[in-house]
Amino acid sequence: MSEKVKEKSGIRSRIVPLILLVMAGVLLVLSVVGFVLQGTQETTQSLGQMQTSAVLHAASEGLINNIAQQARADKLAELRKDKNFRKRGLDEVNSICDAAMEEARAEAEKLYANPVVQDQAALDSAIQTFEKALSESSSLSVTERAAYAEIYVQLVDNISDWKAIAGESVADADVLASLQSTAPDLAKEANAHLGSALVRMARDQAAAQQTAEEAELKNQLINLLASDVPSWTEYIGLEEDALWEKLLQEVPGLEKGEAFRGDLLKKAAEHIAAAEKGETLPPPAEADEGADTVFETQADYSYFTPTAALEKEEAEKNDAYEQLNTQLVAVIPDLGGLSEKLQASLRGNIEKVLWMEDNSFSSRFHTYQQHKAEITSGAWKMNLASLATPLLLAGIAVLLLGLVILFWKPLTGRFGVPRTIIALFFVYLCLLAEFYNISVRMMMGNVLERMTMYGVLVLAMMPGIQCGIGLNMGITIGCISGLLGIVTALQFDLVGFPALACSCVLGALVALPLGWCYAKLLNRMKGNEMTISTYVGFSFVSLMCIGWMMLPFNNPRIIWLLMGKGLRVTHSLLGSFAHLLDNFLAFKIFGIKVPTGGLLFLALCCLLVWLFSRSRLGIAMTAAGSNPRFAEASGINVNRMRTVGTVLSTVIAAVGIVIYSQAFGYAQLYTAPRQLGFIAASAILIGGATVSKAKVSHVIIGVFLFEGVLVFGQQIANSVVAGGGLSEVMRIMISNGIILYALTQSGGGRRA
């Protein structure tokens, strides 16, 4: 009886995966058919016809838009002349103008939408010549631009004080020399032509820096006015000069603002006016926290100068376009009368139609279709051929899903649910990256870099889990200790390995007593550790926000200059120990940069933690964590073991944030460390740990999978949907979803 039931449920549980597998098969077959169709002559020919039609449409579209816009502007001018113009509302005027525009557009479409081609062969050949010229010149252009971008990014990343390098007093040759020493590639013969343009760039940067510093100074002075003047009522009725004198006495540091005296006086006048009414102005708005985020440098191509070879190719391209343009004018005569600006935009449109970075069948097909090209023959074949790639991707996805459901029990039994799901997701993302022409190798390099960045931090979760306090969200306490170490190193202008060592050691030393107190607290809160550690961590971060403002650091490089105290939010570690470990013994293999030093350090930390967990103390600690009652009975002091684990976790976190900052290149204070506990927790959970069990392998696998999914996900999300929102959504949902899952696994039925 019971076996029958089992068999039946066995069949039923296999139905879903079988259906999925069949679906996957169908999808894959369709996609193969699509790929085969892409190679046939019929579709190639049809695609060529679509290309011609798309080019013609792109040309006529520009013309039609132009006519419509012109009609709208004419209508507006006509309305303006009318004396009732002011009586009409904005909405009404807009609707009248829009109606005129639509009318003109409809008329123009009638005229130009279906151009009649006289000399099809000449047009086709002109299009093909131009397309060829575009694709040829692009390869040279791409290499030159890449070289330029690399130099540009090197310069911008590594130079923080542009005024020193390219101040007005420095001669061009000296500027060039210092640029070449920063970016050695610039000294190569192939890049010599970039020299003068980059000198110009450096001068512009220096000027921009000057302006930015002035603006910051002005802003700070305005804030000073608001905070340092106790009572504005004393100032009522003073003349400008007398007011300035009095303010100079009252507000120390104001003399630096002689240059913006006018603006400052205006602000003071606002304060006085408010004081007359018996009010006070609201305190100045706080700077946006998001503004402190550091973005990756993007090359600015406005200083790019082409070589002679590239210029020659450009000229050839221009010739080819001229020929195409004459052909187009022959078809649509009105194109000849366009203004220069419109000519340029027309050329831009046509180039977009003819040259795509991803020159596959489907992307060509979709671009042509966007430009309203008609499909002349074999519509279903064309559509199927263009869908081959997405069909393949969907097929693989369904196949993976089916296999996972089929082997759910053995898979999750061996690897755990989160690790299985995230690992499969990662594999799928790698496939997607291949299809979206994203370089998997480069991405892997990024993943390695991020692994060294987060590895030690994630490792800090391990002793916490082992000793029984669960996910230690309070590693932020350790992080803040580490940041204290870093700013101390910066305070004394330490550089290189001494700075790194000083930060680590000092951070660890601060973390010891803090971790001890924190452990004593958690020992009294058994059963509620995660909740308490989260909020204690949050509170400590906000408390230290005040701390960062009040601590007696005074190196002008790290404090708010005008206030004379208070650490800045973001500290660049360039010139101190940025990327120090990552660049140590770093080498390139298959185009992947391997951050040897960082990986070695991570390996060393893992080894130490592993050795510890094998030691007598470590075994006792794990025992106390996994079964406190049993441990107590066998003579282990559970509270002491928990203290050991918590302190260890906090100290590792202190080292971890130093490593994180050197890999990131910046140390971020104030609210920045708040979420680090969540990131570390989700990484180790993805690696296969639970809230009561963790191993070194969980740390390594977790960091790799988590960062891998994030790096690949970000790139792919960006190429699927413009704007960066999607990857952020993915990060939030994965990271918190994993923690939620772990909570449901641990907390069920337990009641504090």
Partner: protein, 428 residues
């Protein structure tokens, strides 16, 4: 001896409240702000926040801790508001429609939250916090990529040239949702104060006559109400707090009726059968289960009610005076944090809370919030420190309350174990 113990346990329960009272007084004095200004700001913030804070009570009584997942209720309300703005329905009908949309959405979300929290009993506080973060991801997905493309919206709320909802939506002007409830009718603050003092005194007398409370309690109640009313009858006090003519304090009548209505709802539901179930489940799940109560179902209902109420509270917050804009992607983020901190400041703990505690907590918490910046610039010559101090207070209060609660229950548990051991010893 007994009195001393009572005093000690009273202090232990309300240590956070007394700390906040002391801090508030200190801050109000050092900030040098006009009392009238502080009073008007405080009233404004009470109008806005009281409703949401009151929404936390039922889950606390049902033993589910501070329900930080009320952010999800706020998200439901924001979906409702967005649709209402997109459809161009203004004024009271718009608010009512948004509330009507919030009801099914909030119930659905509450149902799901409850189901999930039932899987992590004992970890509800942290679970609901992380659930709120998780839902924020889903919310962004919805507002950035689904609204405006899959679900069509009016073009005045979407980003031009891309999918997704704009960063800020205006509630004033032709949208007409600004102060749609607040603006219906106002009542002078002093009048409201006198009336409520009178009603309070009357109620205590009635309770005494119905022999529900002792004579001593009745006298205390009556004298307290008379005293409060009397203090405000002194012209000097009334003028400092209430301000001179033309700037006198006013209360939005309908808003306050709704807040009082919610208080009434909270206290009446506790007298019903469902309320008894909440209380039983909150006190001891094993006992509740043994006496035939479906524990899981009761907990789900508690969270559903809380989520819907929080959603309505968020609508009240959005329409209130001085807001005027709808920060599409940020409006819900701090809802749980501020409401949770406020109710704990009032003397509530992880397992008990009353209407009065919620109201007093909101009052105290926001009085610090208003004065922190000015006080810090007076004390340290720097207003930014006040900003950080506010954040520290919010998180710190929650941490402190959690610690006190955990410490107390652990101690009780230990005591219970000792008692048990004693009994065993006697038996053998």
């Amino acid at each position: 001896m007994r009195e001393q113990n009572q005093l000690k346990s009273h202090l232990e329960k309300y240590v956070v409240t007394y700390l906040f009272i002391a801090l508030s007084v200190l801050f109000i004095i050092t900030s040098g702000l006009d009392i009238n200004y502080v009073a008007s700001q405080l009233l404004l913030r009470l109008n806005r926040n009281a409703f949401i804070v009151l929404a936390l009570i039922i889950p606390i009584i049902a033993g589910m801790g501070i329900n930080f997942a009320i952010t999800i209720g706020a998200m439901a309300a924001q979906i409702g508001l967005l649709l209402v703005i997109s459809w161009g329905i203004s004024g009271v009908p718009g608010i009512l429609l948004a509330a009507a949309i919030t009801l099914p959405l909030g119930s659905l979300f509450g149902f799901l939250i409850g189901k999930l929290l039932n899987k992590m009993k004992g970890q509800e506080t942290i679970g609901s916090l992380i659930l709120g973060y998780f839902a924020n991801g889903a919310y962004q997905l919805l507002f950035l990529f689904i609204f405006g493309s899959i679900i069509p919206l009016n073009s005045n709320v979407t980003i031009v040239g891309a999918s997704g909802v704009q960063n800020t939506l205006n509630l004033t002007g032709s949208v007409g949702l600004y102060t749609a409830v607040d603006g219906i009718a106002h009542i002078p603050f002093l009048l409201a104060l006198y009336i409520s003092c009178g009603v309070l005194a009357l109620l205590t007398v009635v309770q005494y006559l119905r022999k529900k409370i002792s004579r001593k309690k009745m006298l205390v109640g009556v004298i307290a109400s008379v005293l409060i009313a009397g203090i405000f009858l002194i012209p000097a006090v009334a003028n400092t707090v209430n301000g001179s003519h033309g700037r006198e304090l006013k209360l939005p009548l309908v808003t306050w009726l709704l807040i009082l209505g919610l208080c009434l709802f909270n206290s009446t539901i506790m007298r019903t059968r469902l309320g008894q179930k909440f209380r039983a489940v909150g006190q001891n799940q094993t006992v509740a289960n043994a006496s035939g109560i479906n524990v899981d179902r009761t907990r789900v209902i508690a969270i559903m009610i809380s989520t819907v109420l929080a959603g309505w509270g968020q609508i009240m917050f959005m329409q209130s005076e001085g807001i005027g804009t709808f920060q599409t992607y940020a409006a819900h983020e701090q809802v749980g944090l501020y409401a949770g901190a406020a109710i704990l400041v009032g003397g509530a703990s992880i397992d008990r809370a009353t209407n009065l505690q919620a109201l007093i907590g909101t009052f105290l918490f926001h009085s610090l919030f208003i004065t922190a910046q000015s006080a810090s610039s007076a004390m340290f010559g720097n207003s930014v420190i006040g900003e950080y101090f506010r954040a520290f207070l919010s998180y710190g209060v929650i941490a402190l309350a959690l610690i006190i609660y955990a410490w107390r229950t652990n101690r009780q548990r230990k005591a219970g174990q000792l008692n048990l051991a004693d009994r065993h010893a006697v038996k053998s």
